[in-house]
């Protein structure tokens, strides 16, 4: 009496198909699970036994062996509960053979037999080859996002048994009131008064995918601006949306399911976040980190100078490749992590609100602060601006700024122009791409030459500045060659520095 039921487990954001084989044979009554279950998975035994008994089904008092195949893959979590229960009932011939064959089962069981959702349902459903899948009520609509399976949702093991036996109908999927989620109101750029440079920097950053660094004393409005960057980014493409939803589902970020993630996410981890929390990983459950949760969205690191240097340096690979690679002795996986990085920091430990001459830090403090950010890391920021708290008169009397919607329209137009060049955004252009797409006109070339000669601009900086200038031209709807206005603006968008540079006489 053997049964093999399909299910899946999660590694990172990938689902892996798992076959739950159950053998019910003669011998002293026992219940064993083999096939590399971890502690939480082994606890299934007690949950499954209680759940089955709660459904008034006879627990087979025989020797039960459950094998989770492939046995080389470590299984974590309670997501296999439902499949194990179905397997035992099938092997004990409590449910008719064949009723469960073309179906994958994904769910955790309560002691009373209730079926609970598992994290990463979307990824798990993707790994199920069968044409139908059974999940918990709450995640039915999430499972249906893929559209490849016939999704059945059950609230309780008893209802599932009844349906499989043909004693009752399949429960109707619950009416999901959250299927069309009310969009959460995003903060609008119109609320930002003053900050001409900051607004322009956000626009450029959104349009060109340029990482943004904001330097300024506390209260300058860095967070205010950073929170509004996400609103400028275009909606996610359906394929991107699915990708992002998978990550958020796998990280169990959303307790109640809120449909497809259609807007670019914004993540703002605190500077006390550990490297694993930021990058992803973990010894028990391999969980996506903040960089993956910010995939296709914005990663905002406030107080950049307070993050440990090791954590920041770990960001360099995802910044470069757009993925996090996790390699362990037993598994290897990649997590997508292509995000727009926004950093905010004080110019120095004392905050130096007034610029040069107002800093009261000791040289040793400045040197220590400057060392926090390595040169290669700072190099990733194409746009670096210095912010001061805006003039009080502007806060009181100033007219509201341009609204997010109209800026977002320009951003979309600029992104369309980059798409014609074959890249998602200008920041992705490589060196030959910049040379081909961003030639300078005569006046701009002379300006660039002057900046290079005076040492204000490095050779690497020169390429990035042209890239930003191209984005500025795109925003204004101007075709290359790059004019002097756009190049000058790109140059001033790259001027802020931190403590280390400031000390230069």
């Amino acid at each position: 009496m053997l049964a093999a039921v399909s299910s899946a487990v999660l590694t990172g954001v990938e689902g892996h198909p798992v076959t739950v084989e159950v053998h019910v044979g003669t011998g002293l009554p026992s219940f064993a699970i083999v096939g590399l279950p971890d502690a939480s998975c082994r606890e299934s035994r007690d949950r499954v036994r209680a759940a089955v008994t709660s459904c008034r089904v006879q627990w087979p008092s025989r020797r039960i062996t459950v094998n989770l195949a492939p046995s080389g893959l470590r299984k974590a979590g309670a997501g296999l509960d439902l499949a194990i229960a179905v397997g035992i009932l099938a092997a004990a011939e409590e449910i008719p053979a064949g009723s469960w064959r073309d179906t994958g089962f994904l769910g955790e069981l309560g002691l009373d037999g209730s079926v609970r959702p598992v994290a990463g349902t979307l990824c798990l459903v993707d790994a199920v080859d069968q044409p139908a899948v059974v999940v918990a009520d709450r995640v039915a609509s999430e499972a249906a996002l893929l559209g490849r399976h016939r999704v059945r949702s059950v609230p309780h093991l008893a209802a599932l048994v009844a349906a499989l036996r043909g004693d009752g109908p399949w429960p109707d999927p619950p009416v999901d009131r959250r299927a069309d989620p009310v969009s959460i109101p995003m903060p609008d750029l119109a609320e930002v008064r003053g900050h001409e440079l900051g607004r322009r920097a956000l626009e450029v950053s959104a349009a060109g995918g340029h990482h943004l660094l904001m330097v300024g004393p506390p209260g300058a409005g860095k967070t205010l601006l950073a929170e509004r960057l996400g609103g400028l980014l275009p909606d996610l493409h359906p394929s991107e949306a699915l990708e992002v939803t998978r990550i958020h589902s796998a990280a169990a970020e959303r307790d109640s399911f809120a449909g497809l993630v259609r807007r670019p996410p914004t993540r703002a981890p605190h500077h006390s976040a550990s490297q694993v929390a930021l990058i992803g990983g973990g010894s028990q459950h391999l969980r996506p980190g903040e960089v993956s949760l910010a995939h296709r969205g914005v990663l905002f690191l406030d107080e950049l100078g307070e993050f440990p240097a090791t954590v920041l340096d770990a960001l360099r690979t995802p910044l470069e490749d757009g993925v996090v690679r996790i390699a362990r002795a037993e598994l290897r996986t990649t997590l997508p992590a292509r995000f727009l990085l926004v950093g905010a920091m004080n110019p120095c430990p004392c905050g130096a609100a007034g610029g040069p001459g107002s800093c009261r830090c000791s040289p040793a403090q400045l040197a220590r602060y400057g060392r926090r950010l390595s040169g290669p890391f700072l190099d990733r920021f194409d746009v670096r601006i210095q912010l001061l708290p805006p003039d009080p008169a502007l806060l009181v009397d100033g007219a509201p700024g341009e609204a997010t919607a109209s800026v977002a329209a320009r951003v979309a137009q600029a992104r369309a122009r980059s798409a014609d060049r074959g890249v998602e955004a200008n920041a992705a252009l490589d060196a030959p791409g910049v040379d081909r797409h961003a030639p300078l006109d005569h006046a701009a070339a002379r300006l660039a030459e002057g900046a290079l000669r005076s040492g204000r601009l490095s050779a690497r900086g020169y390429r990035r500045v042209r890239c930003v200038a191209l984005t500025l031209a795109d925003l204004d709807g101007v075709d290359p060659p790059i004019g002097v206005e756009h190049l000058a603006e790109a140059l001033v968008l790259r001027t802020a520095g931190v403590a280390g540079d400031r000390s230069a006489a």
Binding site: G194, G355, Q386, S454, E485, V492, A496, D501, A505
Partner: protein
């Protein structure tokens, strides 16, 4: 035994005393008043020295150190390192130069030309966290003063001090013969290059000017030593000019010591809202003389009587060939550091126009930038 040998032994003993661990100028003076230095060191080494003003524990420790140090002929070692040892009380030139000090150093270590003492001397001091404005004024003061044969005295610190020294070096290189030598009084041993940014400057001043310290070779800088050093700068200078100083800056202590000694204290006025000029402006409010340019200092020194003619030279005009927007943005900038946002707001021009103007001003040197702030500069 010749008289020279006696002198040498006396100096050796003084250097031994100055090299003891935990010695301060006050303790060194106490030791020096106990009698002939050779005899004092001898008593130290044999643990026969007791004095109420010297902590017993320190004297205990010094005994062992004195035994070790006494074996070496320190003055010869210093001479080999290019450092001269001067007993201030015994040298009439130094005695006169530091006469106003109640607590003069017992010994001075110097490298370079002691003839610097024959020049008129003016101290140019100020904050380490200087603005471009302060550094420029200090630099041109140093250059113009040295150009007229005045020895510019300062402390080699970052910011104003270094700028003043650099200005003086420029004049010195311009016409080596008649320019006043730069004089730097440091708060550490002369072999220690501090601050690191000024290491080259320190070497250059030792070569063509005068480098001074009351600390033996190998002594690292410590906060109290900077304050003690300021009294030497104040005493050496006939006039002390404070270029930029924060509200509680070290330069103010130099000014205070100088005023107490009856020296002329001058201050360079700065923008009233600039934190870096708060101390200098406070000095002016308290009655310090105004220093706009080197000619004001010459008047204070009695070298000239009319500063009016020179006033026009010091005021920095805008470069002649600026575009109209460049001029507007330069006016909007004023004389305090400003961010681009402030420039946009004050000039009421679009960001892109301001950006072009700023790049123009940067390229012609009318404006300098650091860390996202823009400052007016003398072209």
């Amino acid at each position: 035994m010749t008289r020279n040998d006696d002198d040498q032994r006396r100096l050796d003993a003084l250097v031994v005393m100055a090299s003891l661990e935990g010695i301060t100028p006050a303790r060194l003076r106490t030791l020096a008043t106990l009698g002939d230095p050779t005899a004092v060191v001898d008593r130290l080494a044999r643990r026969r020295l007791h004095h109420g003003a010297l902590p017993r524990g320190a004297v205990e420790q010094w005994a062992g150190q004195a035994v070790d140090l006494r074996r070496r002929s320190l003055v010869d070692e210093y001479r080999a390192a290019g450092v001269q040892v001067v007993e201030v009380a015994a040298d009439p030139r130094w005695g006169a130069a530091l006469a106003t000090l109640e607590d003069p150093p017992v010994v001075l270590f110097c490298r370079g030309e002691v003839t610097a003492l024959e020049h008129r001397r003016v101290a140019v001091v100020g904050t380490r966290a200087a603005t471009a404005y302060g550094r420029e004024v200090a630099g041109s003061l140093g250059r113009d003063l040295a150009g007229e044969g005045v020895a510019v005295v300062s402390g080699l610190a970052k910011g104003i001090d270094a700028a003043a020294h650099r200005g003086a070096m420029v004049a010195h290189h311009g016409d080596g013969g008649s320019a006043g030598p730069p004089v730097a009084v440091v708060a550490n041993g002369l072999d220690i290059g501090y601050p690191a940014d000024s290491r080259r400057l320190q070497v250059d001043i030792g070569r063509c000017g005068l480098l001074l310290s009351e600390h033996p070779l190998g002594r690292r800088p410590a906060p109290w030593q900077f304050l003690a050093r300021n009294r030497i700068i104040a005493a050496l200078a006939e006039v002390v000019v404070v270029v930029e100083s924060h509200e509680r800056g070290g330069a103010l202590s130099t000014a205070e010591r100088a005023a107490a000694a009856g020296r002329t204290v001058m201050a360079v006025p700065g923008p009233v809202r600039s934190a870096a000029s708060a101390g200098a402006n406070a000095l002016l409010a308290d009655g310090a003389e105004v220093c706009r340019h080197a000619h004001d200092v010459f008047v204070a020194l009695g070298l000239t009587t009319s500063a009016a003619a020179a006033a026009a030279d010091a005021a920095v005009g805008a470069p002649g060939d600026l575009s109209s927007t460049g001029r507007v943005v330069l006016d909007a900038l004023g004389w305090e550091p400003a961010t681009l946002d402030q420039l946009v707001l004050r000039s009421a021009l679009p960001l892109a126009t301001v950006a072009v103007a700023v790049e123009e001003l940067l390229s012609c040197g009318a404006v300098a930038t650091s860390g996202g702030f823009y400052e007016r500069a003398a072209p």
